[in-house]
Point group: C2
Chain length 413, copies 2
């Protein structure tokens, strides 16, 4: 068996073929390129049982990933994040079978590590020496750290309001880091100019083909972790939407392999913030693409993306699976984040909290039915966003005394 069954790239709009063995960005039509595999051979040669005993990270699916030579894999053990039961918050919502896939339990603390691991590994395989990207913070952190591990230098531009910790991660990796007094779209313009002028490898969201493949592994893992019986609903906080595109792609590929049933897809839910909901608006209007969202703002910084390059792919996945798109207000995000910590001990990121609140809403209006199996993606660790938790704590001197929890003047939210 080969390490990878990758065959070629194809334009997501025209299906025109591109070579997978040279550096590629967008198609000639300016659309994202998708990675294609020789699924026919794989169907014959690859069995579920081949996974038994493999390393517990996303490279266990290497046949369905684009890196051809194992030597080029750049890994810090990312993937196979836990799926945990959420019985207390599930009861609170009326969702008996509620699960969280916790993407905070991964190097760099967010699901961005998946795209970075696969994207950087393939960049290494293709001989890339220097890359550039705009970021809302977490992607830049992941890509610059994986790039450092691969010996690739990186130039990163992020909004000045991006989470501060991600700034530290980029800096400590040795990246060439800039802040911009604006949004990710402004950072994108600056990177775009630099890429043209200095001939850098542009790894902006969907401008290189391999990030989707990394994100796709979330879908592969959900299928395997549920023993190839896929859940009814998957909720996903959606900025650029690559995770949702990837999960959909993964499940289609698993259907082609015959590893999951061909007649059932989970309903995919794209969750956005009320302060930046271009995909929700497009979905509500039945459109195939979104429009730029002016003056976007939300505490869920990772999904503050006013216009996603892959919006049409996200919408397609939502339509095809009979999913939906919903937007959540910041105050509901904060309240849900607190509830999740207090009832389940899970300190999720604001984007993850938004997706949980969406599940709550969709159960309330009965879009999620009684007894359905529901998986929420928490895309990152709450500790990367300490500012979403405000706390007043009493300060004691050395000989002070305290009261126990149930009768207390101690610090509360």
């Amino acid at each position: 068996m080969k390490y990878s069954y990758v065959s070629h790239l194809s334009c997501s709009k025209t299906s025109k073929k591109y070579d997978v063995n040279t550096v590629q960005n967008l198609s000639d039509e300016g659309s994202p390129l998708l990675v294609e595999y020789d699924l026919e051979s794989l169907r014959k040669e690859w069995k579920k049982s081949d996974l038994i005993g493999r390393e517990n990270n996303l490279w266990r699916y290497h046949e369905l990933l684009p890196v051809k030579d194992e030597q080029n894999v750049v890994s810090m053990g990312e993937g196979m994040t836990p799926i945990i039961e959420m019985p207390a918050i599930g009861k609170d919502m009326g969702i008996e079978n509620l699960y969280m896939k916790d993407e905070g339990i991964i190097p760099t603390g967010t699901f961005k590590a998946r795209g970075a691991a696969v994207g950087i590994s393939k960049a290494k395989e293709l001989g890339v020496k220097e890359l550039a990207m705009p970021t809302n913070g977490n992607a830049g952190a992941s890509w610059s750290l994986f790039a450092a591990r691969a010996g690739i230098s990186s130039t990163i531009v992020m909004p000045i309001d991006a989470p501060e910790i991600t700034r530290n991660e980029c800096a400590v990796s040795g990246a060439n880091l800039y802040l911009v007094n604006g949004l990710i779209s402004d950072a994108g313009k600056i990177v775009g100019e630099a890429v043209k002028e200095h001939d850098l490898y542009d790894v902006s969201t969907l401008k290189e083909p391999y990030r989707i493949e990394g994100k796709k592994t979330m879908g592969l893992e959900i299928a395997e972790q549920f023993h190839w019986e896929i859940p009814d609903v998957i909720l996903y906080p959606t900025g650029g939407g690559v995770g949702l595109i990837g999960i959909y792609k993964a499940l289609k590929e698993l259907q082609a392999l015959g590893w999951i049933k061909a007649d059932k897809m989970p309903r995919l839910v794209a969750v956005q913030s009320a302060g930046c909901a271009p995909i929700v608006k497009a979905w509500e209007e039945g459109k195939k693409e979104s429009e730029f969202w002016d003056a976007s703002e939300t505490i869920a910084f990772g999904i503050n993306v006013p216009k996603a390059l892959g919006d049409f792919l996200v919408l397609d996945a939502v339509y095809e699976t009979e999913g939906c798109a919903v937007s959540i207000r910041d105050e509901d995000v904060i309240e849900e984040q607190k509830l999740l910590s207090q009832k389940e001990g899970t300190f999720v990121c604001p984007e993850g909290a938004a997706a949980f609140y969406a599940a709550r809403q969709l159960r309330q209006n009965n879009w999620i039915k009684e007894g359905e199996k529901v998986v929420v993606l928490n895309t990152g660790a709450g500790i990367k966003y300490p500012d979403t938790v405000n706390v007043e704590v009493p300060v004691l001197e050395k000989n002070d005394s305290i009261q126990p929890a149930n009768d207390s003047a101690g610090g509360k939210l």
Copy 2:
């Protein structure tokens, strides 16, 4: 087979037996209690191959953990953290076979989750409703979040200088939280009074018997992940030292089971900060216990423990394995942390960086020999300590342009 083969508790000084089915703290002599198992039955009934296909978290070793009924397990998927190769920094140090076990890839972002998961699960089994503890931050964060998941209320006291993110984690969990203008030893005194007065369950380091069992799983995992061929040297950042005690206990138990060779132990290295090195001082003087370290101070906050209750157990493990104890200066910690990020893409916590610097030193003076297999424990994610990275980053306006990495005015450390 039974879920757990726990048999009883024994005093770590006198070996006197205590009941494992009721709430226990210290022994009558004021020493930590250790958990004992029916290793004789286990040796007959439990095989390495039983682990195949089990969940990829620390509960895969439930036979060797103290929770009797699986229903009482409180888990967020903790454990089986990755062991990753560190070839670039290894080459830099002259250690060809250098590995990191990355305890940042775990719920709450530090190895404290292990002690909390097992400690809280057993507390739940014993019917505990309310607990209290002093903490340098990360243990409080882990215990309060796992307690929330178990429906147990918690009172936490931490130094005002403890990492701010851990304060947020405790608060968001709904804990009864206090700061103290002092050290963890001062927090401990305040908790001690409250425990007596209000009859709370005291889960201070080693004052309950089960935290060691959680930490022990690091040793079990290292053995399994290296296919039961244990490495030559394990370096561990040592504050309270429970991890080191636990790793040693795990390896002794695996020897008793016949799962690893009976005649080889890794040399265990206790790494402390130059600003707080009571165990190093005791080891250098050949003593069996440490003395209180006055006016301790270090950026590696998790190992700022002036006098550990289990110091004699740490020293015993170091002597018995022919290990050693070394102290590292803060400036070397910061430099090593930066090197690790830039060469390997691994943003470790300062405590982890201290342990890597210790490996560098011990190789330099040839205590670590050429070709030896060396494992460094990174006890937490660097993102929990953003303040250890200082960065000046240029701020751009929307239409500014930038230079690529190799010719740049971008932000650097």
